[in-house]
């Protein structure tokens, strides 16, 4: 007997059988008990089958592509270690950018792994569930490959060795940590909006690209190889982010106001957290890629503008306070670096004042603000250093209840005046750096009142003790090694010794 001629299914049909075809409507247990979390936020999904898979990757293809990328990446990392690749970077000051990355960003990749597993289990539609599972795997990949990439630097430089311990405790690391805690403790659709859309789609070019391009410009072959290797994963994450937003908006008109509120919130949260990246780009890279302001113009004003124009057909508008964030792009890096310079004694990386050449670059890139508002302060600090009176701020700063950054930001329209906002909730007064952060609190006061604010905790005696030495010990930060200025640090001494030895070898 000849079997009937084989009919060929198209890729879309085949992929549907391989993924959502596996799913079934449970009857021994109620669907609402199997999927208890995907309705409480008020997002209405009328037909999950309308979900368009943003990419079609069966597990065998996933293993194959990803395994191949891992082989190549680890070959480069091995070679980087064998050839002492750390000697080839532009300057040892650069290493501080990756200290910030490992302590601030890598633990977030792990959190993302966990919470995409949560979505991969708890979203009722099988299509997005599979996509979320792959992202959970990818995020674990990013956490682990970042650790393995930076592992070599940890062997030669200070500030890396205690990264998970520091992430859970250090004052400025509570900024990225609370950002991600906020997303993971939200409902699944808010998490999708926060991380897949606002973060991965709208803002990723302002986080991932600056660090990876910074690595490329500064001779860090290991990190830039990681960056290239993660690029195709990021592309998948972005397509998931845009699909999720469109899907929610297409499913029911009632979803729009909820989604808009989340977009407003997460844009502002992202903008504040990315201030750390802004500072890294403008002050910490010995060889600069572009200024934060330029990056903001290209990746938010232009690309984000086009995106929101496209999304306007769903009724979604540009995030609230986008104009304020754009104005702040001229200030935020300078204000942040000034904060870290003043509190260098409690930072897990080194600080320094910009050189003349670097100040000239900043003047050129920030013609409206640098010379007028920030150069004089840096020059004054330089004079104080020359007199042996390096300025340290020994008072603990007030933190914003929402973004948790010290309240060092200025008023919109007046860069000479620090902005303060406050509100009352259940008899207590809460303080904010901006209208954006205050709005976020007022929308969810019971959530944000819970924040573990590092400065409050120090004052309450929960951080090892009352003086700096106690707190540093509690942070596992070694005084004189992990903190303070780059000048005179063990990192610098070692780097200078390496350079001298290389000169000798070169004759």
């Amino acid at each position: 007997m000849t079997p009937p001629r084989k009919k060929k299914m198209n890729l879309k049909q085949r992929y549907a059988l391989m993924t959502r075809g596996l799913d079934w409507e449970t009857s021994y247990q109620k669907m609402d008990d199997v999927f208890p979390y995907d309705t409480f936020e008020g997002i209405k999904i009328t037909d999950w089958s309308k979900w368009e898979d943003p990419f079609r990757l069966t597990m065998d293809a996933y293993w194959k592509y990803q395994g191949e990328k891992e082989r190549k990446l680890y070959a480069v990392l091995d070679s980087f270690a064998q050839n002492n690749g750390q000697l080839g970077i532009s300057d040892a000051r650069y290493v501080n950018a990756i200290k910030l990355f490992l302590t601030g960003v890598t633990p977030l990749e792990y959190q993302a792994h966990r919470h995409f597993a949560h979505l991969g289990r708890h979203i009722r539609g099988a299509g997005p569930r599979v996509a979320a599972q792959m992202q959970s795997l990818d995020e674990l990949r990013h956490a682990q490959t970042q650790i393995h990439t930076i592992s070599h630097y940890n062997k030669y430089f200070d500030g890396f060795a205690e990264f998970p311990h520091m992430h859970d405790r250090v004052w400025y690391l509570s900024v990225p940590k609370s950002f991600f805690d906020d997303a993971c403790t939200a409902g699944p659709f808010e998490f999708f909006t926060a991380i897949s859309f606002a973060f991965e789609y709208v803002l990723t070019n302002l986080l991932f690209v600056p660090f990876m391009s910074g690595a490329a410009y500064n001779g860090d072959l290991a990190t830039v190889t990681f960056g290239f290797s993660a690029q195709s994963d990021e592309a998948r994450h972005m397509t998931l982010g845009i699909e999720v937003i469109k899907f929610m908006l297409e499913q029911h008109p009632d979803n729009l106001p909820i989604v808009q509120k989340w977009v407003d919130k997460w844009f502002w949260r992202g903008h504040k957290m990315l201030g750390l990246v802004a500072m890294m780009m403008d002050y910490m890279l010995p060889k600069r890629i572009m200024s934060w302001k330029e990056a903001w113009e290209i990746y938010f004003t232009e690309a984000g503008g086009a995106l929101f124009e496209d999304l306007s057909r769903y009724g979604l508008r540009v995030p609230k306070y986008a104009d304020i964030a754009t104005e702040e792009a001229e200030h935020i890096s300078h204000q942040n670096w000034a904060i870290f310079y003043q509190y260098t004694q409690a930072a897990g990386f080194h600080t320094w004042l910009p050189t003349d050449e670097e100040m000239a670059w900043l003047s050129e890139k920030y013609p409206n603000t640098f010379d007028k508002y920030y150069r004089p302060r840096f020059e004054m600090w330089r004079e104080m250093e020359a007199k042996g009176e390096r300025f340290y701020n020994n008072a603990l700063p007030q933190l914003c209840q929402t973004c948790q950054i010290p309240m060092g930001y200025t008023e919109p329209g007046d860069p000479t005046k620090i902005g303060f906002r406050s509100t009352e909730y259940k008899g207590d007064r809460y303080h904010f750096c901006s209208d954006g952060c205050k709005d976020i609190f007022e929308n969810e006061p019971e959530k944000f009142a819970q924040a573990w604010l590092p400065v409050h905790q120090i004052f309450q005696g929960n951080c090892g003790g009352a003086d700096l030495g106690d707190v540093l010990k509690w942070y596992h930060m070694e005084n004189g090694t992990d903190n303070l200025d780059y000048s005179g640090s063990p990192d610098q001494q070692q780097w200078d010794a390496w350079q001298a030895a290389r000169k000798k070898v070169a004759g």
């Binding site: 009919k7 996933y62 002492n84 403790t185």
Partner: protein
């Protein structure tokens, strides 16, 4: 003569991260597994209670009744981090692809007796839904588990179960001459076939468990511990008598995977049971309860496929699993 390449000698200040060194007992060079897994999960100073479950932090030891002094005792004997995991699975699946090509070239599925072919649609292909249930449990363990040692291995397992469901789907599509028709038939069995309802109920019951460690015992130790040997050993052997050699070849991935996966499961159970008498009692009671229910649920399925041989096959897989559980330190 030896070749002497001149390089600059630079001495490392330390050999690994401080938290890894504390676990190893000294600053010795650590493996990529150790650096990629140890202490990666945040443990303290969380900011907000989850809106979806304020009784716990999002990472919280209290999401299981099992108590451990250290959640990194659950070291994976396979030492899988993402790189070693994906490379190992890519290699395994290469063999599966070759097996599918081998079968297609020789049209081996055509050699299967027609009545057994129908049986395959009734017993094997519905397992793709069982695997999807296992995938959900694995995701759940990765979501609510504690410590990277557990959550990383769990998400790898989730990927494995989806991959296996997809291999089974491919078998169904090949048997159905390139169409999804037999997948529909098999799904009807899973949804309404009397042979499957007990197992479907077991799976659905496992999906509403609140304790992730109980889900781990129910799914990975008990359900898999009975289903895999029954299907890929006893029933497969029976299939040989009906010309189903191709099925053995196409299911080779599952046999190899299960042997490897069990090494991890056994390590987890053993460590947890050894930790305390309370853990041991808890695991033992979960084990007995799920073993009895699963064993009962499998009876109509085994009877449908193996007829008179069903009881002895089920008795054998149960005995083997009890032996294994005993070795892992459970009280039966």
């Amino acid at each position: 003569m030896s070749i002497d390449i001149k390089t600059m000698n630079v001495e490392p200040k330390r050999h690994t991260f401080a938290h890894v060194a504390r676990r190893l007992g000294s600053d010795a060079p650590a493996s990529r597994y150790e650096e990629g897994v140890y202490d990666l999960q945040a443990t303290t100073h969380f900011h907000y209670r989850p809106l979806w479950g304020p009784e716990h932090w999002h990472f919280d030891e209290g999401r299981t009744q099992v108590k451990m002094s250290d959640w990194y005792k659950f070291k994976d004997p396979r030492q899988y981090y993402y790189g070693t995991y994906t490379i190992a699975r890519a290699n395994m699946h290469q063999t599966t692809d070759r097996n599918f090509a081998f079968e297609e070239k020789r049209e081996m599925l055509a050699n299967i007796d027609p009545e057994w072919r129908e049986m395959i649609v009734n017993y094997l292909i519905p397992l793709r839904h069982y695997e999807w249930g296992a995938n959900m449990n694995a995701c759940s363990i990765s979501d609510t588990g504690y410590g990277t040692a557990i959550t990383s291995a769990a998400i790898f397992t989730a990927g494995d179960r989806l991959g296996i469901a997809q291999i089974l789907s491919r078998v169904g599509i090949s048997l159905g001459n390139g169409t999804g028709d037999l997948l529909d038939d098999a799904k009807a069995q899973w949804m309404n076939g009397p042979a499957w309802q007990g197992m479907r109920k077991c799976v659905e019951d496992s999906l509403v468990l609140k304790d992730w460690f109980e889900a781990l015992v129910a799914q990975f130790l008990v359900m898999d511990g009975l289903v895999y040997p029954l299907v890929y050993n006893h029933i497969d052997t029976e299939g040989q008598k009906h010309g189903a050699a191709a099925i053995s070849i196409l299911c080779e991935f599952m046999v190899d995977w299960s042997a490897e996966h069990n090494r991890w499961v056994d390590a987890v159970i053993k460590v947890a049971a050894k930790e305390s008498e309370e853990n041991q009692a808890l695991l033992s009671s979960w084990y007995s309860q799920w073993r009895d229910e699963t064993h009962k649920a499998l009876q109509p399925l085994a009877a449908m496929v193996l007829g008179d041989g069903a009881d002895s096959a089920l008795a054998d897989v149960k005995e083997q699993l009890d032996k294994r559980a005993g070795k892992l330190g459970l009280n039966l």
